[in-house]
């Protein structure tokens, strides 16, 4: 029984999965020309900014390698670091809670808020709480959680879903945001324009009194330092500072993979993260606090929720290096066209395509590992060098293996892959297959190409079939042609 309880476990959380497959879900985004325009403009802007500030550092590759190594080293000795972190936080007056999954984390946070007697809380944008659906859980308990990050607020007011890790409302342009504010913000100036400064000003006014009256705040954390118990939040607007400093009670929900061993390790990540995420040398505000800083009642909830299942896969665990910068989303050609909602998880884009199926198990997210052309742009920009394309390929094999286990009869794809391999392991069979191709007897008699060719032909012509294969040409005349004498004087 003990062994069973201690087995790495996938996450049951619904915010990491959808019943819909990626190709089906992508259709909506692909058809939304406004969203595609918004995403193209935004991702092009951020790509250029990132490239500019990364080029400023002549030691970027060294920082990147160090970042990857620090994260891997932390994961390799994670139990020690978790215990050290817990001891350090406790020593400085904070309280550490442990949550096996999202439901348990939600229950802990609900209980802590109820103990204060408050029913309104403010929140700093946090992927961990997004992942576990904390806001919905709190609403069930009669607690209203107000998102204070501008983009999260846009999503919350618009009753929308986040579509990007860093900028959850990236799919909205300024005019759409103006409309959301006009329709859903009480006391908003009806003459509000779509000028970004005016929009930011409206958010400032709307949230100001909520900040000043809030008694409880909830945050995530970008990093937790095991040796000191220090927590770190990077942000831009000051909403994070408001939440982290004004309320009497602060509850931080943090994945167990967010630790770094030492304070000094932050010298690497505080260079990698801002340049990779917002394309700035440094984000406007970074807050760091240790335990019950400045008299607050401080709680931190350490969250598993599928992370141990991810850690258990030696070929997949490097996904836990992720520092949620979203650089991979911003360079991904698939993300740019399909949009974040197509991924059906709070983690969209290339990292989402590996992380979501790892957290839930591939059976629950079988289409995500295939939602990539394997172009490799994500790997190039990843500040902690996660080889996303290789991991996608690894997960594709897991999906195929899971399907094999499920069905006794091979799928049509598996059958054609087996047939292709069978054809390709014999010169005779291969030559015959190629000849049948060159004679124009396509579709039905092409054992080497898997179905469905129809989806290809919807938007692209098939190539003209050659009269003769290369090997037949070679036999006919290629091998007889002697090499030309090297040109002495052309």
């Amino acid at each position: 029984m003990t062994t069973f309880l201690g087995m790495p476990t996938a996450s049951p959380t619904v915010h990491l999965r959808t019943g819909e497959s990626f190709p089906d879900a992508a259709r909506t985004g692909l058809a939304d020309s406004q969203q595609r325009h918004n995403l193209r403009v935004a991702t092009t802007t951020i790509r250029e900014k990132r490239a500019g500030v990364v080029a400023e550092l002549d030691d970027w590759e060294q920082l990147r390698a160090a970042g990857a190594a620090i994260k891997d080293a932390t994961l390799a000795e994670l139990p020690d670091h978790l215990e050290r972190f817990e001891a350090a936080v406790t020593e400085r007056g904070g309280t550490v809670h442990w949550a096996r999954d999202g439901d348990e984390a939600n229950a802990i946070v609900t209980r802590l808020i109820q103990a204060t007697g408050e029913t309104d809380v403010v929140k700093v944008k946090s992927m961990a709480t997004e992942e576990i659906g904390l806001n919905e859980a709190l609403a069930t308990a009669g607690i209203t959680a107000t998102e204070t990050d501008l983009a999260e607020l846009i999503v919350q007011l618009g009753d929308d879903r986040p579509s990007h890790i860093l900028v959850p409302a990236i799919h909205r342009n300024r005019s759409e945001i103006r409309d959301i504010f006009r329709d859903h913000m009480d006391d908003v100036d009806p003459g509000l324009t779509n000028d970004p400064e005016a929009l930011a000003g409206a958010a400032r006014l709307y949230l100001r009194r909520r900040f000043l009256s809030a008694k409880v705040a909830i945050s995530g954390a970008n990093f937790g330092v095991a040796e000191t118990g220090t927590l770190c939040v990077l942000e831009s607007e000051g909403n994070g500072r408001m939440c982290l400093t004004l309320p009497r009670t602060l509850i931080t929900v943090m994945g167990i993979e967010k630790l770094v061993p030492t304070w000094r390790d932050l010298e690497v990540f505080l260079q990698l993260l801002p340049r990779s995420s917002t394309g700035e040398r440094m984000n406007p505000y970074t807050s760091m606090w240790t335990g019950a800083t400045e008299g607050q009642d401080f709680h931190v909830v350490l969250l598993d929720n599928g992370r141990t299942a991810t850690l258990a896969d030696p070929h997949g665990r490097s996904a836990l290096r992720c520092i949620r910068c979203s650089a991979c989303l911003n360079v991904c050609p698939v993300y740019e066209r399909a949009g974040g909602h197509a991924y059906g998880s709070v983690y969209p884009g290339p990292i989402g395509a590996v992380l979501s199926p790892q957290l839930t198990g591939v059976k629950d997210n079988p289409s995500l590992p295939f939602a990539s052309s394997l172009c490799g742009a994500c790997y190039d920009v990843c500040p902690v060098a996660i080889d996303i394309p290789t991991m996608l390929v690894h997960l594709r094999a897991e999906v195929v293996a899971a399907k094999r286990e499920e069905h006794r009869v091979p799928t049509a794809e598996a059958a054609s892959m087996t047939a292709a391999a069978w054809t390709m392991t014999s010169r005779r069979r291969w030559t015959a297959a190629l000849r049948s191709l060159s004679l124009g007897r396509v579709a039905r008699r092409m054992p080497a190409l898997p179905p469905p060719l129809s989806s290809w032909a919807r938007s692209r012509d098939l190539p003209q079939m050659p009269r003769e294969t290369l090997r037949d040409w070679w036999v006919r005349e290629g091998s007889d042609v002697p090499p030309a004498a090297p040109e002495e004087d052309a």
Partner: protein, 202 residues
């Protein structure tokens, strides 16, 4: 087993293949690699649309007073420990004790713990003259004095110089957001105006 034991056991089980912790090669520019260039610091702070003023050590008080006068600021909060000889000639107020008081003040003047040249960052760690973290957050105007000898070259120098356990706020320009079409807009919740006085070493 409780949640704590279960998670720790799960982690140990997950690491059953005993992956080796890779060596962390720190061949990037470490603390002490080079000296800070205060001119670059000034440029990078200004890049974020903070306004940078510079002066000699003997005229700090006058310059602070001038800066505030130019902004039409007639009252400013000055936290404990701020150098007495620098206190400007406008009306000064003590640190407010409640949120309501805090919300009524519009301007704050502080020192800092250090500045980072490479990123144009100013770090406050609640030391003398800096006040608690909220003090430089709620007012719409923040004027901060940075001595040139407080400017370090890069992030590793800052991390080496700072005490992890002190409450820290790293500030790079005024409050900003990139949430609308990923374009930076200054001024959301924190101070919308950040003025910096960079004081030459005596």
């Amino acid at each position: 087993m409780n949640a704590r034991e279960t998670i720790l056991q799960r982690v140990r089980t997950a690491l059953a293949d005993r992956p080796a912790a890779p060596p962390v090669v720190r061949d990037y520019h470490r603390a002490g690699s080079r000296l800070a260039d205060v001119d670059v610091f000034a440029e990078r702070v200004a890049d974020y649309r903070a306004t940078v003023h510079r002066c000699g050590a003997s005229v700090v008080q006058e310059r602070l007073s001038d800066i505030l006068r130019a902004r039409s600021i007639t009252e400013i909060v000055v936290p404990q420990g701020f150098p007495a000889e620098w206190v400007p000639t406008v009306r000064t107020a003590d640190e407010p004790v409640s949120v309501e008081e805090l919300d009524r003040i519009s301007a704050v003047l502080t020192t800092c713990s250090l500045g980072i040249e490479q990123t144009g960052t100013i770090v406050l760690d609640a030391g003398p003259g800096q006040g608690p973290r909220v003090l430089t957050l709620v007012p719409d105007y923040h004027l901060v004095v940075v001595r040139e000898d407080q400017v370090v070259a890069a992030v590793p120098d800052a991390v080496a110089a700072l005490d992890a356990t002190r409450p820290q706020t790293w500030i790079s320009g005024p409050s900003a957001t990139s949430d609308i079409e990923l374009q930076r807009v200054e001024g959301v919740h924190g101070p919308r105006t950040l003025d910096v006085l960079l004081v030459a070493s005596a």
